[in-house]
Amino acid sequence: MSILLDETNRILVQGITGHMGTFFVTDARRYGTQVIAGVSPGRGGASVDGVPVFNSVATACKETGADTAMVFVPPAAVQGATIESIEAGCRLVVATADELPVRDAIEIRAAARAYNARFVGPNSPGLISPGKAKMGFMPSFCYRRGDVGVISRSGSLSYEACKRLTLAGIGQTTVVGIGGDPVKGTTAAEALELFHADPETRAVLYLGEIGGSEEAAVAAYAARVDAKPVAALIVGATAPPGKKMGHAAALVGSHADSHEAKTRMLKHAGVQVAAGVSDVVKSTQAALAAARN
């Protein structure tokens, strides 16, 4: 199994006629993903790579049975497009865009909650359930099917870590990029709950950063008696305090946010913490070994 995404998701692409939309259609379908509809207001009736384009999400869902949305529109339009899909009944909506105002992410999150939908993003690489489907631009060769769930605040870092896992023979159930922004569609805590409920996932690798409170939720999960084993990498050991490291949330604001404090807290909760990206395989192997007992 996997979480959120598998071969059954029927995906529509908002902004399908743009650069990123068309690139996604080709790449995702090559991977076996069911991309069945596109939405581009004013372009209804056209088609992209054989995928029919509609003027609205509601029409696309009605005509094609789409239940999942991938959003590629300019940052100022992301809130409107995402909420359109949520209100049209999509169960999963992914918006990878960065440059989304936090204010808009807050509204999207509230809409998703009201409609019992799942939102992944913003400022995220998306998610992939290896061997089944992908919603994002992650390089497919970095992944293989397996039994480790991966949660990442950063896109490239998840490619790097998963490639290392894959080369070491460790496959993934689902790799979900929760994104680097302070208000997330899906938090680490929520992704952990999903992996917890997924019978195929035996251990979780969490790729975190300095700043924010996401890591506290990971430690809280790991400390549960029924928790699945967790491995983690926290980057930013060398970041100076008080400077924002690219991601809006990656800023050491107080002592609790620092690399040292987070590492200590995670270790205390029983998490296998990697000393650096070189050690993610070793830490994940340790978590899997714990799962075997």
Binding site: A110, G136, L157, G180, P182, V183, A217, K243, K244
Partner: protein, 378 residues
Amino acid sequence: MMILEYEAKDLLRSAGVAVPDGSVIRPGARALQAAARRIDSYPVAVKAQVRSGGRGKQGGVTRANDVAQLRAAAKRLFATTFGDEQPAALLADPWLVIDRELYLSVTVDGAAEGYVVLYSPRGGVDIESGAPPVRYPIGVPWRFRTHELRAILEPVEKDFQVRERVIALAQRLVETAAARDCTTIEINPLARLASGELVALDAKVVYDEWGHFRNRDIAEQRAGIRRRADRLLKACLDMQHMYVRLDGDIGLISGGAGMTMAAMDMIRRYGGRPACFFDCSPGPTSTRGYRPAIAMLDADPQVKVILVSIFGGGTQMQRVATAMKENMPMRRSGKPVVFRLDGTHVDQVPGILATFGARNHDCLEDAVREAVKLARRA
């Protein structure tokens, strides 16, 4: 994007929050003279306008009892560096007699799924050392409820008149944060005067730069930062690159915030020192953004080696390699460049790099080791 105290107070004033009626003083004798004419009552608090924290503890706030003391304070403060920042302005606020210092802020918080109000009945410079503020998580700004905040304040704020004023103020701050795309509005201290009035003695506002398209204040802030940057950095900022200068000698060009930090951490682990956090992840098709990045690091005397480490998904690696190839002939500096490109279409990379005599490292460890070695030699 944090703004200066006087700018933050202007924003608060426009939203109906009471702030001291202060005067901004720019550098130079003339500006000081003009300010001295405007200030008609003493004492005043003369405050260095810098973003760095802990200004008070570094002598950045001085009391001036007359014009002579104002001049002396201005001279000293303009000549002082706070953190790595020299003040571009001072703020002279009337010196108010304070009954009590409170703490009030509104900030964005992931756990709250949006805005959160923080309050402490004891504010001021030592806010971090006291009991933590109480939290009112709101989420979407229109979920703010005065009666909910009241219930949270009751146990910690015993003066019900202060409580009611704080509630009204907090609502104003939440509305302002939402309307003007602020991720933090912090008032510390919020002063209670003998009259009962609450006045924002100091204020910190952080704008969400991605709200620039609907907020001219933010757009102007961004433009100002770009304007003040030198030519090379400006070109990088125009490309939406994220650059933070550090104190080492390995100029790291990377993609993605997490991956950039991972590479920084690895450089340190192998005994090297990164010269910067430099996230140059452009859109999936534009690759001309690497040119200004390399030009900036070439021009930086602190940088001895350039390490290009990109793991691209939407960013296709053959395009990155080609962009690098096109950049090389324009370089004047002989600084070595170490490459580690991986991700989409990486199979085409070695061939392209070979055309200008470079080679690609398969794994980050090798590339970092090489960069550290070259930096030591240089």
